[in-house]
Every structure is written in structure tokens, then in C-alpha cells.
Subunit: 514 residues, 2 copies
């Protein structure tokens, strides 16, 4: 590429040239060079290699006109949702026309979501805590625990919890149930009006985050709720035009009202059959698969047991149980390196247990959480959960790119958990600009106050992608979610075909917008 500037010798007499600057501007191919650069970068960005059909180009024009108008307006008001905390941006996002389009867009699959953080606290409050036999107790630290049981179970040790109180009975003697329910709801969500003040740092937000899982555990692992939860979860993603899920599941024991505890096989079988049943009444729904997860606070021998358990379940349910991952805060938990003995078991046994490791979900550089990215490579992870720190690892990044190993980007999660405040600065912006393999997911939408994938797609499209991301970017993200799933090649092709039909319908509607 030739450049103008100091290194370029003069071509004509300078006097003449000064007089005719404006004429010669067009003679020096400034705009040519500039346009070539623009086109080059446009091709490098995520989706830049796609070629849009005529109808898609028309739809893209409509979409980009709306997007540009919304961004231009935000520049004036200095209120740009991706730059604001999601809790404060949510209502603005819901007014966005781009968001309305993203909701209608067939988005493919959700590849990074956790089993019991998908539905809203409101759903839990209204659909679960009002069921019969729901008891609660208060731990010495003030946390609420729930248990469905009949009859009322014996009082726990005082070091564990207070006596079990039947919620139905307790509510009856309250003067203001709404007030109680409002307070209860606060235990199910991170949402608050002033997140910056309430959660001073990552320790504070993670502490509350983990406490939510502790609190809702007794609710969601009650077998009837467990099943309804799965159904409702599939329903919400389906309504959000997401037709396939890979769920990271914790395998906490599922119990019945009489105290019976189900086996892990029962759990997988329930997931499998629920998805199967759901598919019957929901055309186009592709299914759900499970990634076995355990918590990174545990010691290596417990993780070794879980790896073996995952292998066993995978052998029993090869189409449903598809891999293994570790959950919990990387900054404070064990690293993949700490677990290396456990993680080598499948290889040493000659078994394939695909890994889907969370790695680099951190702002720190050079810590074990950061180095998890290297270990995710070493342990041949199939996809990378978050990979927030990937940009700081050029060698790992290059390897993932060459080997087509995608990162699962969860914008709202990263913002709410205080990794980044302004999503225009999300490190995935650089990766999206260079076409690095990625999918967009929502991690724990129920706890963050979002739903399905559309809110995260909005943040990715408007904030991370900026003005340059267009319909090609969106199309590529949807295609990626199918491509990088664990579905078989045949199933992927079927899914892609079904998705494409919906996509064409979506494009048709979009291009015909007034």
C-alpha cells in the first residue's frame, strides 16, 4: 500500500501545486488508500467474509439506519446503554428498535448458560415459593434456605440453620405479604437500583452471586420444580428465537417431598426427556445437551470423582451428556493447573471427555485465573467460557484461532460481575474486529435480570461491535452458535437448514419494514 506524506517525493513544482491543492487531492489517491483500508478491515471483522443476498442487503440497510440513528442520538444524550450498567440500561434497551429486531432474529443456540440461573427471581417467587410444603430456615449468617418436605423436617443443628418454617403458614400471619415477598425476591437476584454503590468491588458482587445459588438451591432441586424450571427455561429461549441449548449443569441432588433423592442418571434422563417432550409441541426446537460442571472450590480428588462421574454419564447418555467444565470464581478458586491430575483421567483412560472450560474470566494478568487460558489450551478445551483475558495472550489467541476454538462471550455477565464497566471497552471488541471465533451467550440471565439471548446480542451488536457491526456480524454469530455446538455433523446441517428458513423469514420481514 503506498502512502502519502513525508516519505513521498514531490511530483510537480510546489508553487503550482499549492495553488491547485484541491485539484491534486483527487490526483493523489488518498481516498483510494483509505477506502481500501476500510474495505480490508470490513472483511476482517466477524462475518466480514459473508456475502449478503439482495434481500439481506435491503434488510441490512433498514437495520443499520435504525442502529445509526440510535447511536447518533446516544452520542447527543450521552446515554448509551452498552456504556451504562445493565441494571440501569435495561429499560432503555427495551425501548430500542434494534433490540426489537434482535428479539425477532433467529439466534441459533445458547452455548454458555448455567442450569439454575436462567429464570427470573420473579418466576421463582410466584411459581415456586407459593407451592405447598415449601419451608424455609435462616442460617447463622442470615442466609435463607428452602426445602420442600412433608411432614415438616426436624430442626437442623443450630450451627446450620434455624427451625424449618412452613412458608404458607408464615405468610398467613403476615400483615404485609407484598413487603415480605419483595424482600424475598432480593435474595434471588443481583438486580438493584444502584449497583455501583451496592457492590463496591468484585468480592462483594461474587459473594452475593454465590449466595443466590445457595438460597435458590432448595427451591430448584425439588423434583417438580426442577422439571417446571427446565420447561420454562426452554420456553423462554424458544420465545427469544433460540432453538438449542447446551446447559452447564451442577448435578446437585434432586429430591422429592418425602426426602427421596434422585440419582444423577435420573437427572440426565429428565433433561433428555423434558427436551424431547418440549420438542413435540415446539416446531423447530432442536434440543438441549448437558455439560457436567463442578465447583472450583473443591479439592482435586473430589474433582477427579466428578470427572469419572461425567465419563460414566457420558457413556450412558452419549447424546445428552457432552462434556465437562468447572464453575465458580476463577480469581479465588482452584486453577485448571491445580486439577491437572483429575483432568488427565479421561486421556489416560483413552476416553474422550470434551472440556468446555471457563478460562480467563478475570481482569488480573499473570495470575492463575489468567493462566487458565494456557491450561485450557493444554487440556484441549473445545470452547472457552468467557476468555475475557484472551487478548492479553497472543500465543494462545493465535492457537485458538488457527484451531477454530471459539470463546463464549457473555457481555452482561462480564459487566454485572464488574470485569468491565463500559461494554465498548470489552476486550471482545478487538477480537470481533479481527474475526476471532466467538459465540454470544447470556451466562446467568435470570440473576442478571435479562432473558434469553437478545439482551446480550444487543450489547454485543451495539456496544462491542460498534457502528461497524452489521447484519453480517449477526448472521455470523447465529451461524457460529450452530457451528460450534456439540451437535453431530448431520444434526448441525439439519439445524442450519431449519435456522436458514427462519432467517429468510426474518430477513423478509425486516426488509419490508416501513
Amino acid at each position: 500500500m503506498s502512502m502519502v506524506g513525508p516519505s513521498r517525493p514531490p511530483a510537480l513544482l510546489s508553487l503550482l501545486l499549492v495553488v491547485a491543492v484541491s485539484f491534486f487531492c483527487s490526483a493523489i489517491p488518498i481516498d483510494d488508500i483509505r477506502n481500501r483500508l476500510l474495505v480490508k478491515e470490513k472483511k476482517m471483522q466477524l462475518g466480514g467474509q459473508l456475502v449478503l443476498k439482495k434481500q439481506e442487503m435491503k434488510a441490512n440497510e433498514k437495520l443499520m439506519a435504525l442502529k445509526n440513528a440510535e447511536i447518533t442520538e446516544a452520542m447527543k444524550t450521552q446515554k448509551f446503554p452498552p456504556s451504562m450498567h445493565f441494571f440501569q440500561a435495561k429499560s432503555l434497551i427495551e425501548k430500542s428498535q434494534v433490540f426489537a429486531i434482535l428479539k425477532k432474529m433467529p439466534k441459533g443456540a445458547a452455548l454458555h448458560v448455567h442450569d439454575f440461573s436462567i429464570l427470573s427471581g420473579d418466576w421463582l417467587l410466584k411459581n415456586v415459593t407459593y407451592r405447598p410444603y415449601c419451608h424455609f430456615c435462616i442460617t447463622p449468617k442470615g442466609a435463607i434456605q428452602f426445602k420442600f418436605a412433608h411432614p415438616t423436617p426436624p430442626t437442623p443443628k443450630p450451627t446450620e440453620c434455624s427451625e424449618w418454617v412452613l412458608l404458607e403458614k408464615y405468610r398467613k400471619q403476615l400483615q404485609n405479604v407484598t413487603e415480605f415477598d419483595d424482600r424475598l425476591l432480593k435474595n434471588f437476584t443481583l438486580m438493584t437500583e444502584n449497583p455501583e454503590l451496592v457492590y463496591a468491588n468484585q468480592d462483594a458482587i461474587w459473594s452475593k452471586f454465590e449466595s443466590i445459588f445457595f438460597t435458590i438451591s432448595g427451591l430448584v432441586h425439588y423434583a417438580p420444580v426442577f422439571k417446571d424450571y427446565i420447561f420454562q427455561c426452554l420456553q423462554e429461549f424458544y420465545q427469544d428465537n433460540v432453538f438449542y441449548l447446551e446447559l452447564r449443569a451442577t448435578f446437585f441432588p434432586v429430591y422429592e417431598v418425602d426426602g427421596t433423592v434422585h440419582s444423577r442418571e435420573w437427572v440426565v434422563e429428565t433433561y433428555r426427556s423434558m427436551a424431547y417432550e418440549f420438542a413435540k409441541d415446539h416446531p423447530g426446537f432442536v434440543g438441549m445437551k448437558i455439560i457436567y460442571t463442578d465447583h472450583r472450590t473443591k479439592n482435586v480428588s473430589l474433582i477427579a470423582q466428578s470427572v469419572k462421574e461425567a465419563m460414566k454419564l457420558q457413556a450412558q447418555f452419549p447424546k445428552t451428556m457432552v462434556g465437562f467444565d468447572l464453575v465458580g470464581r476463577e480469581d479465588t478458586g482452584h486453577s485448571l493447573h491445580d486439577y491437572q491430575e483429575a483432568l488427565l483421567i479421561p486421556t489416560l483412560q483413552g476416553t474422550k471427555l470434551p472440556y468446555f472450560f471457563h478460562a480467563g474470566e478475570t481482569d488480573w494478568q499473570g495470575t492463575s485465573a489468567d493462566t487458565n487460558l494456557l491450561d485450557a489450551l493444554v487440556f484441549n478445551s473445545t470452547r472457552i467460557g468467557h476468555g475475557f483475558a484472551l487478548g492479553k495472550h497472543p500465543a494462545v489467541m493465535e492457537y485458538f484461532r488457527k484451531n477454530d476454538i471459539p470463546i463464549e462471550v457473555c457481555p452482561i455477565s462480564n459487566q454485572v460481575l464488574k470485569l468491565v464497566s463500559d461494554l465498548r471497552n470489552h476486550p471482545a471488541a478487538a477480537l470481533m474486529a479481527s474475526g476471532h471465533p466467538m459465540v454470544i451467550s447470556s451466562d446467568d440471565p435470570g440473576i442478571f435480570g435479562s432473558k434469553g439471548l437478545s439482551y446480550d446480542f444487543y450489547e454485543a451488536f451495539m456496544g462491542i461491535g460498534g457502528m461497524k457491526a452489521d447484519l453480517k456480524t449477526l448472521k455470523q454469530l447465529a451461524i457460529n452458535s450452530i457451528k460450534y455446538s456439540t451437535l453431530s455433523q448431520t444434526d448441525k446441517m439439519d439445524f442450519m437448514q431449519a435456522w436458514e428458513e427462519r432467517w429468510n423469514k426474518f430477513i423478509d420481514d425486516l426488509s419490508k419494514r416501513p
Copy 2:
């Protein structure tokens, strides 16, 4: 690089292997692969190609022990200065032992600093506003303006300013001068206790930022102050172990108490002679050069005039006047593209006027401020001011890298002007990890409440570089500041040699720390 994991076939009977997992962990070269990756990334990072001498290795150990201790402590307290707003982090930084070392380190040159935002408001208050003949007036919008004059000048038009009040006389009739001075000081600095609340968005902070330049203009362009300012500026950088500066100068008219206005030639000559005088009493001081700047709010024909003026001054003072740049907020000002006719003048005249463009000092993507990065390339910019958005431009980034065009990273500036809140997320982190050419500078230290380069070096070393950045990184940054200066090859070699002597002394002291 060979990988373990699903794609690796079993080597021995699985049963035997399970029993002996811990034995075989060492047989599978997990740690080998991991270490090779670590070493590879270590070599890729900024300074990774440098080879430390024995003494330097010892010094590095001391430095890294302190650094690791400070970071480990910060992880516990969740109070890590680079993650906090600089105004709140400053006192913490000043307690840091790493910072104390960085102050002593010979840092080379400051390549991105603006003429009248280098000294603190406190210096202006105490050393300037108490001088005789200092008048002030208040504009209709409530801004303060200053003018040194004798006798008191006539009252300006009411649309411009109130009548001129002699500050000396005004202070005499005040009951509480300290209170007045405290309020006055607030007009000279962005510093405040609650920056997040006071400056709601980038509009707010830029508005205050520009108002400071407006207010101090009458003070610093008074010829005697102008000279003292330059001297004090050289003094502060010298004390901070910075021995050479390239100053972006605005060429606002410099005046005398009788109203005489000096020519631009006088200004350049004053810079030149001040630096010359300073060098006499300050061993090791290399000098100061000037980059002509104009404001990007102006129209193209005014900028064309400035380009010609810069060319003229460059011809007259080839060793002092070294290039041209545009200042002011990129998001709201004219783009380089808008100015293309003006910027082509030197080329069309067959003259070399090196450009040092601010480009990509923005969070927005796809706007004209963002696209300035492309135009900086097209117009053959010698260095890039900030280049904050560079990571989002893979093609431009690659070109700059290949052609060794550095970005001038100003961490505190980017944080205070609200481009990024947590400096661990500064986009230069990825660039530093991959060894992209860069220098560290302080932009407007006086207005941000910092001094010299050490505070910005602290943020870059601790925050942007993370735990991985070490003595090699620091050494490379110092070397870069010499390498990417506009000094002649001979002058660079002399500077490098003088710097190296100081560096060796610094290393000697550091390695002998108890």
C-alpha cells in the same frame, strides 16, 4: 505443539493408567507444553526480546518481589490503584515502593505532553497569580479570565467579560484569602474528591477540561510566566528522571505587560534558548523539541494556514520545530479526513512536515474519531497520539507494527477523561502483551494531578502490564522513548549512551536494596 486431551489416543492399558495417574502426569509433557507457552508469551511481550545482564536480573528479582507483594495485597483489600480512579488512587500510589523505584528509574523521554498542562494548579496559584499586574474578569458564562497589564486595561465588551480587577487589590479587601484561593485553584485542575459524581460523562469532563485551558491561558502566555513555566516544566521532568521532551505547543500569542505581542518565531526561539540554558546547569539533560499544534474545532482553511506556518517555522528552526498535530476532543472535533486538503500541503509542496496525530482517542467504533486511525496511516503519521482504539483496527495495527510506528499511551489521561475506568482493561494491555511499539507519556499531568512520567509508568507497569510486566518491560519503554523520538541518529546514540549510564547506576542501587 502437541496437545493432550480428547484428540490424543490412549498409550497404555487404561486400568493401569488410572491407578498410576500421578506417575503418568509427569510422563505426559503437560508442564513442558505449558512452560513452552509461558516462555513464548514472555518473549512476545514488550521488552521480551531483551536479555538482562546478571545485575539486572538481580534487580528484577527485587523489583518483582515488591510488585508481587503489592499486587497480592491489593487482591486481598480489593484496593488496586490502577483499578481505581487516579484522583482516589494517587495517595495510595505514593505509598507504593514500586512507585518509589519508578521515580528513580531513568525513563528516557516524554513524547506526548501538552505545553500548558504540565505544571500543577498549585504552582499557578502560588507562583503566578500573586505576581504584580495580574488582573481577572468574569465572562458572562461565569469563567475566569486573566491578564497581566499595566495600567489596568479598559473594560471589555459586556458580552465578553466583566471589568478587569487587579487581583492584588482584590485579595487585600478579602476577609478569607485562603478560601478565595481554594476556589481559584478549582479552576486550574480537574482534581476532585468524587470524580465519578462530579463528571457524569465525557461531555462533562471535556467541558471542564477545555475551560481550564481557557482560564489559565492569560496566565501562562504572559511572557515572564511563559519562560518560568518552561523552566519549571523542564525542572519537574528532570527531577523525575526524564531528560528529553517533545512538547505539543499551541502557539497562542505570548504578551508583555504593556500589551506587546510576540511573534511565533520568538516563541520557538524562547523554547530553544530556555532548553539550552537549562541544559547548562543540568547534566544529562538532552533538550526539548516542539510539535506545532492547532485545535480541531477550526475550519480547514485555518488549519491550512497553521500547516504552512508550521512548515515555515520548521524551515527556520529545523532542530526545534519538528512536526505538526491537532488537539482537542476527537469525538466532537473535525476528523483528519475533514482536513485532508490542509494536511496534503507539505507533500504537494515537496516538504517533509512530520505528523504526530492524535488518533482513536475514543470509545466509539466506526465514527470519524475512530477512523482517524486510518487517516493517521494514510497521512503517514510518525507516531500516534493515544491510539486508544487501535485494537479495533487490525489492518492499521498490523501496518503500524510492521512500519514501527508507535502509539503514545497516556494511561492516567485516558482514565481521567473517562475512556476507561479500570486500567487493567486498557486496550494497550493486549498491545503490550504482543510487543506492539509504544511509549508511555503523561499528556496533561498538571491538570490530572500527576507529575512527570512516574505516575503513568506506575499505571502502565502495574495495571496495563499486570504481573507479567517486569524490568525488561520498563527498560524497553525507556529505550522506546529515545528510539521513537525525533532526535537525529547521532543524538539518539548519545542520549542512549547517557541513559545507559544512569540506567546502570539505577540497576546497581536497585540490586543492592536490602
